[in-house]
Symmetry: C2
């Protein structure tokens, strides 16, 4: 440990070079094995070095190179992200030295060893993470050491608070800024695209930013992108919100909780989604976005993220505790997560469902409509002028009267319309129909299997790809009935999707009493 101290006192200079390798959010520096600095400093491969140029400094993980065409002996190569952060041209002078370990490393080691950390510890750790001072190894150590059981609820609050503290914080200068969030896991669950125009029409501010799909067939941002531009600079986004009471944009570029974006890069490959990290991640983004009131959707079902009522209640309490510490008014709603919501799964298919609901089309999926109305109703009840219990009917009036559609169209225009025609959606032209092999009622639909098939079919990368469900839980079917259609644009994608489907279609046909029962609020 002590041997890292003081070596940074004497930086040596090299010429900067962009090495066009995309190392995905990890800064990597490349030094030639015969580089005098590498030899003199006694750097080790994978150790961290500090690179300074132009008044900026970054930390980077060292890879040693044996090929002068990648980096020469008088050069310091940087991976694309790292090079971009420094913002300098190739050939400029840069100074390189052994990096002092990030300040928070000592707190990280204490957490790994099972200690409880305090507010300052989390502030320091999250700041170092947001500033890219952690290597992939250190990031992973942090997310595993703060996984289930290792964090008490006060620590989860410290983590959320630290995430807010190190990013941008929006202030809409309104007493009521509402938002809705779902913890995820249910394909087709595009209620945000209905709730935003409904509550906006009611006069509430709802500046909704969403993510793109990480492991699902579509995120709200992917589906909204079928209708309108979602990658909107911050200044323009503010204009859209102030004019329309709302927006439906991609939140990726907004720098609201930068540490969270870095943590996702290791959580994703580990399929980590612990309660502590989920709560801190969701609430920190909402606080940073300036929300005052949040309705949170926790779907529960045998193939949902949350599988038992007890687990749902534990998660609800953790969300409520942290939200109350952060002065966020929170309404948690436990919903039916036994099957996908709506018919379509994949960006275009989901956009079709959403527009059908907004247009009051008789073909519109009723479960999507009902769920959106109930969640919107709960948000509307945050309005001090609305009596408890009246929210649902106000939301329904707004939807039925076409006012929600008017607001949606206005938001689409403001963000930049992509001219989507919901009556003639462009669906993937290669189609495979999955048929029932028995007669009875639909007793189970596996969210994970259906999502996997839709992803292999090409969603969300190919907007028109996905799965279109023709039957939902409780529907009567006879042998040979089409259960769902798989849409693809590329034969290989369709083949992959069909292979997975052949293992299991995701549907179980049985008797009405085989349908799993979940007790939810509606």
């Amino acid at each position: 440990m002590t041997d890292k101290i003081d070596k940074q006192k004497k930086p040596m200079h090299l010429l900067l070079r962009r090495v066009a390798i995309d190392t995905y959010r990890e800064n990597v520096a490349y030094l030639h094995r015969d580089c005098a600095v590498y030899r003199a400093e006694g750097f080790q491969a994978l150790s961290k070095i500090e690179v300074r140029a132009n008044g900026c400094k970054i930390l980077a993980t060292l890879n040693v190179v044996d090929d002068e065409s990648i980096v020469g002996c008088d050069e310091i190569g940087l991976s694309e992200d790292a090079f971009a952060i420094l913002g300098m041209e190739s050939g400029k002078e840069a100074f390189v030295c052994q990096a002092e370990p990030p300040v928070s490393m000592e707190a990280l080691f204490r957490k790994i060893n099972g200690e409880r950390l305090d507010k300052t510890d989390f502030r320091n750790i999250v700041k170092d993470i947001a500033e890219h001072h952690y290597s992939k190894i250190e990031l992973t150590a942090f997310v595993v050491a703060t996984n289930r059981g290792e964090m008490d609820r006060e620590e989860v609050y410290f983590l959320a608070e630290a995430m807010v503290a190190c990013g941008r914080h929006l202030d809409w200068k309104e007493p009521l800024v509402v938002d809705k969030h779902c913890i995820g896991g249910i394909p087709g669950n595009r209620t945000s695209m209905l709730i935003v125009p409904i509550v906006a029409a009611h006069g509430m501010l709802c500046p909704k930013t969403s993510s793109r799909a990480i492991t699902s067939p579509a995120g709200t941002a992917d589906t909204m992108e079928v209708l309108a531009n979602v990658d909107i600079p911050f200044k323009k986004l503010t204009d859209v919100v102030l004019k329309n009471n709302g927006c439906l944009a991609w939140g990726g570029a907004s720098d609201l909780s930068p540490a969270d974006d870095v943590l996702i890069s290791v959580e994703r490959p580990l399929s980590l989604d612990s309660p502590a990290q989920m709560v801190a991640s969701i609430l920190s983004k909402k606080i940073a976005a300036g929300s005052t009131h949040l309705v949170l959707d926790i779907p529960i079902g045998p193939t949902a993220k949350v599988r038992s009522m007890q687990e749902a209640q534990n998660l609800r309490r953790l969300f409520e505790y942290v939200a109350s510490r952060m002065n966020l008014s929170l309404d948690v709603i436990i919903t039916d997560g036994r099957q996908p919501i709506g018919f379509g799964i994949g960006p275009v298919l989901e956009a079709r469902d959403v527009m059908q609901v907004l247009e009051n089309d008789p073909l519109a999926p009723n479960d999507l409509r009902q769920k959106a109305l109930r969640l919107a109703g709960r948000l509307i009840e945050c309005d001090p002028d609305v009596r408890g219990g009246d929210g649902f009917s106000i939301a329904r009036d707004i939807l039925d009267s076409g006012r929600a559609l008017t607001y949606m169209n206005s938001i689409i225009e403001a963000q930049g319309s992509n001219g989507f025609d919901y009556k003639n959606p462009k669906l993937g032209s290669l189609i495979f129909e999955v048929k029932s092999i028995a007669s009875g009622v639909v007793a189970e639909i596996d969210n994970l299997q259906i999502a996997g098939i839709a992803r292999l079919a090409g969603a969300p990368k190919v907007q028109s790809a996905g799965v279109d469900l023709l039957h939902k839980l409780g529907d009567k079917v006879v042998e040979g009935d089409v259960l769902y259609r798989i849409h693809s644009e590329i034969q290989a994608d369709l083949d992959f999707a069909c292979q997975l489907c052949a293992k299991s279609s995701g549907y179980k046909i049985g008797r009405p009493e085989d349908i799993h029962h979940v007790f939810v609020e509606f």
Copy 2:
């Protein structure tokens, strides 16, 4: 999860290319962003891909490249280690596809979530690790999830057993194969180089392989290398052992516990050294090396790895439990770890101390001699013909009579002598003397600080660099007396070492009653 399945069914071919980047034990593959395979397969940066050529297959983490001079659109680039594993020439055909996640990933996720794993789980995990199927992120998740508290002693046994199962296993065809190990942390603690010739002279087989320094100023292999060649092919090593009853070689290339070597690559940057991993790592290497009897040294002191008797006893019990499950006869000895052992710290300085003891030189450090004799004595008592309590005097006779020196010289010759002259050791010519700023007795010597100073001075990379202690605990000194000398070959190294020394010399001068008391077996 489901979307990873099946994509590997259809590999696509590319031309192999060596990308001369040393990514330190992590296989990295480089694909051009415009490569048809990259686009068609929907690979993501940092996802894992499978590369097959020549009947071999490897898994590699993907980096995306935007520069055709690094990899072209029809090429698959591989980092140096990965390229070497495939053993093919550049330009040969390779097949690339999305990697199915390693079999053990599901067990890893269960461990992350706090579950207890069984024998098969550990076998699968350790096999995947040894075969380089884990990314750095997954390796880190494993070592953090199996850190203190998370593993019961049965699981530690499963881990150790799995580590043995996936590597090479030596069989010396002798009923008694002895070894000695120290858990580390004490500079200058080179007892192995005395114990091996002593027990070999007693007629016991002691095929000692050691590591090089990871974070210390010298490992046994580094110090032995001053005297003889230590990088010895397996076949020759066997000859050395059979002829001399022992050896003192570097164990790095022997493939005895390959998973352990991979795990170290992430444990080192995290300074992780949990009891579970320490026990599994040490015992698996001893079993694999064919040892039947082991004496284990646990030093205890305020700046040692183990700082309290309670901690030492817990560690002892864990070692004993796992050793007994693995049929290894184990004798744990808790020793005085309050200060460095011997005078010299650094390869040449330690080699001088060792040879002085073997030569019965009056200048020889007595603490090193005494400790080696006691540990050797305990090993000798493994001999069924030796009465309990007689080991020490047998060891002393072997050392005093010069028989230990004869065996050592014979081992040095067999491994290939480097012609070291212990009476004229070549010490670093740049010297800084650290003087006492008070009068009194030496009340404390900080192991970590002294090790840090020796490392900055250049050890172990520069063999002649290090620290030479002139006074030890309890010695009377007056203001101005030289406490120790720092030896370097390079002015910058000496400056770094002196800067650290200026913060704290590592010595505390006080009264005799200030000396920390530890209760140890001798």
